[in-house]
């Protein structure tokens, strides 16, 4: 992982570590079983009290203007101190935060403090059943009626929407304009009449994302971010925030999976009764996958390093999501293949493997990522559209 030390960072690390030691609730895991949302909200409030809730935000919006190196330090310390998770606030802190800071009105920016304090969970309403990879084809219609829009349509793949309070919503305000020119960006209070949120069960059995049905939903014009029909441009700000230390947790988790894989292969007997860890073909595929995990971690560490130096990521950044998801897919797939029927019964390894398809699709399918790499990194001509 990247090189993050030096006297100032060390001082920062010690200050934050000391703060965590005093504030992480000792019994939060027990409480989480009853009400994970309450635990997460309470922890955000605690973080905000220390000024740590929104490290990447500017100071005038209650953030720390923390460097990437400081954010990595905080990530490491959170893990070491076993602090409660804040993933429910990811869309609020990253997508909503960066969009409102850059494009929001003063009134809209009042959301920022509520996100920091854990009062508002946000989700994203961009994709639709007929607008997935081709997001600009979205059809949810917003008709102007005085000081409000009346919105009808359907959104899908909205992570955490069942627990969210607010939604970043892309709607079509000018159906006669070319696809990208007729879109506006709205903020939707999910308690508004006409909003129905229905969880979608995934192939893993859990239901993290949802469908959102919008039936004559009235949204005040004051909740529009930026000018009418400029929503596509503003959405690019939202989507560009999937950077920073976004993948740090995923890369760490992948290393943990390798460690767990070692234990699994040592403890699972093969057909000859000896542990799978002594099987030549299992050793080959596991060494290949574990090597790729190390390569991914090294590549990601360089991406973070170059972001720290240059303030932006180089072309390597675009391959992180693609490579991460495919390494995860191969590692878990080979472990499932190795243990055989035990994968059906034990479940965890196979569920991890099933989950890897989500990683290969979410955030822009890997097929779309290959288009992006081909066109924006290698400079190949665009496909006809």
């Amino acid at each position: 992982m990247p090189h993050v030390d030096g006297p100032e960072l060390d001082a920062f690390r010690h200050t934050y570590r000391a703060w965590l030691a005093e504030h992480v609730p000792p019994d939060w895991r027990a409480a989480e079983a009853d009400d994970p949302v309450a635990v997460s909200r309470a922890w955000m409030r605690e973080l905000d009290g220390g000024g740590y809730a929104a490290p990447g935000w500017p100071v005038e919006h209650g953030g720390m203007a923390a460097s990437l190196a400081q954010q990595i330090v905080m990530f490491e310390e959170n893990a070491a101190a076993d602090a409660p998770p804040t993933g429910l606030f990811g869309i609020g802190l990253n997508h909503a935060g960066s969009t409102l800071i850059v494009h929001g009105t003063d009134e809209q920016r009042e959301h920022l403090a509520r996100i920091r304090r854990g009062d508002e969970i946000w989700c994203q309403g961009f994709s639709e059943p007929d607008a997935g990879s081709d997001l600009a084809a979205l059809q949810t219609r917003a008709a102007r009626d005085g000081d409000a829009y009346v919105v009808n349509g359907q959104k899908v793949w909205s992570s955490m929407a069942a627990r969210a309070d607010w939604c970043l919503l892309l709607v079509r305000t000018d159906p006669s304009a070319p696809k990208r020119k007729g879109i506006s960006y709205l903020l939707l209070d999910l308690r508004t009449p006409g909003v129905t949120v229905r969880p979608l069960r995934q192939i893993t059995g859990s239901a993290e994302f949802c469908e959102i049905f919008l039936d004559d939903v009235v949204i005040p014009v004051a909740n529009r971010v930026g000018p009418e029909n400029e929503g596509w441009r503003i959405s690019q700000t939202t989507l560009s925030t999937e950077r920073g230390p976004f993948f740090l947790a995923s890369v760490h988790a992948l290393r943990d999976r390798v460690r767990d894989g070692v234990e699994l292969l040592r403890s699972t007997p093969g057909p000859d009764g000896r542990p799978l860890a002594s099987d030549a073909s299992v050793r080959q595929s596991f060494a290949r996958d574990a090597g790729e995990v190390e390569i991914l971690a090294e590549l990601y560490s360089q991406v973070l390093d170059s972001q720290m130096r240059a303030g932006h990521a180089g072309p390597e950044a675009s391959i992180i999501k693609l490579y991460y998801s495919e390494v995860l897919h191969r590692l878990t797939g080979h472990l499932v293949d190795a243990v055989g029927l035990a994968a059906e019964v034990d479940g965890a390894t196979l569920v991890d493997h099933l989950g890897s398809w989500g990683m290969m699709i979410g955030g822009g399918t890997n097929e779309i990522q290959r288009n992006v790499i081909g066109e924006r990194v290698l400079g190949l001509p665009r496909e006809p559209r």
């Binding site: 390798v258 070692v262 292969l265 040592r266 860890a277 002594s278 030549a280 050793r283 080959q284 596991f286 060494a287 290949r288 574990a290 090597g291 790729e292 190390e294 390569i295 991914l296 090294e298 590549l299 360089q302 170059s306 180089g314 072309p315 390597e316 391959i319 693609l322 490579y323 097929e367 990522q369 290959r370 288009n371 790499i373 081909g374 066109e375 990194v377 290698l378 400079g379 190949l380 001509p381 665009r382 496909e383 006809p384």
Partner: protein, 356 residues
């Protein structure tokens, strides 16, 4: 960040190496050497020595530059890019490495200055390639197949019974038979020993750790060669995909071709970080196992073979012709995979660290 290495000095060394290899070793010159007995251009070797490429890791006292494998890595990367046929892996990486790690002061004083100056070369017979060599007294018997650049060496370093021995050449009791090769940018030879007189290399009493380090250096060097070659093969293929028109549009606009090119970039970028990490890992010689050389050797040489092979596919029929350069990359990649331990050999080597 498309290069191995980090700082300004590395960038200058890279520019120098790239310019010299482009001027003096274009693929027309490489093709002209295909049937040459020596297999490389002695004038280019002299130039490489004058530029210091042959003595980067040799200390100044012995006429070298006193630098590390990090600098050698830059030259190896550029040699891969240019498919350059020079006995650098055999003599500069392994021969020098063996002398530095295991040579007696007298052996170092005799060989290192001449090697830094490019006046002498060593070939090294180590690795998993069915060597069957025994020492009786100070005499060597047996055979070592597939010894890189043995045909052009002034001496051999031979592993026998976990220790290293030095055999100056020519010597009675040593027969070097060049092997016919499909990759014409490197040369292997079978070496037979029939009572040849040898000098022990005293630093190899703890033989296993020196031999492991040398094998790691070979693995890192081949990963760097693979990175240079794979990146160049990708660049040539991407340029072609932008220019070649079929169905009234450049073939690179089609996803079938574009996605193949994207996969080539992923292979090249992951190879870069692995090769760079391996170079860092072998630069010092601490005790204890190093994980990166074997990870990098397996990943990088496979990636090179994939990229060069995909390069043929992107080019179509023209890529299958002798005149086109892509087969030079494919052949070099296939030899990079096999030299000093196949990818499977190195994965098993890493598996021992992980699982045992």
């Amino acid at each position: 960040m498309t290069d191995v290495g980090l700082d300004d000095a590395h960038a200058q060394l890279r520019d120098l190496a790239r310019r010299v290899f482009a001027d003096r070793s274009p693929t027309t010159a490489i093709r002209a050497l295909a049937d040459d007995t020596l297999g490389f251009d002695p004038e280019l070797w002299r130039t490489a020595a004058e530029l210091g490429f042959t003595g980067l890791e040799i200390d100044e006292e012995h006429g070298g530059a006193g630098m590390s494998f990090r600098e050698a890595a830059v030259v190896l990367d550029e040699m891969g890019r240019g498919l350059v046929p020079l006995p650098v892996l055999s003599s500069v990486v392994l021969g020098t490495g063996a002398l530095l790690a295991a040579g007696s002061p007298a052996q170092q004083a005799e060989w290192l200055p001449a090697m830094a100056a490019g006046e002498r070369r060593l070939a090294v017979a180590i690795g998993p390639d069915r060597h069957d060599v025994r020492v009786a007294g100070d005499r060597l018997h047996g055979s070592a197949p597939f010894v890189l650049d043995a045909h052009a060496a002034d001496g051999l370093v031979v592993q026998a019974g976990g220790k290293l021995y030095l055999v100056p050449l020519p010597a009675s009791g040593v027969t070097v038979t060049p092997a016919p090769m499909l990759d014409r940018t490197r040369r292997l030879a079978d070496v037979a020993f029939d009572g040849a007189e040898v000098e022990p290399m005293p630093g190899s009493t703890d033989g296993a750790s020196v031999v492991d380090w040398l094998l790691d250096r070979a693995a890192a060097a081949l990963a760097l060669d693979s990175h240079g070659g794979a990146r160049r093969a990708m660049e040539i293929s991407v340029e072609y995909a932008k220019e070649r028109v079929q169905f009234d549009r450049p073939i690179g606009s089609f996803q079938a071709v574009k996605h193949k090119c994207a996969d080539m970039l992923i292979a090249v970028e992951t190879t870069r970080v692995a090769a760079d990490a391996a170079a860092r890992d072998v630069a010092p010689r601490p005790d204890g196992p190093r994980r990166w050389p074997s990870i990098a050797k397996a990943h990088a040489t496979d990636a090179y073979a994939f990229v060069a092979g995909a390069g043929i596919s992107v080019h179509g029929g023209i890529g299958f012709t002798w005149e086109h350069d892509m087969h030079l990359f494919v052949k070099r990649a296939k030899l990079d995979q096999a030299l000093f331990g196949t990818p499977a050999f190195h994965r098993e080597r890493y598996a021992r660290l992980l699982l045992d």
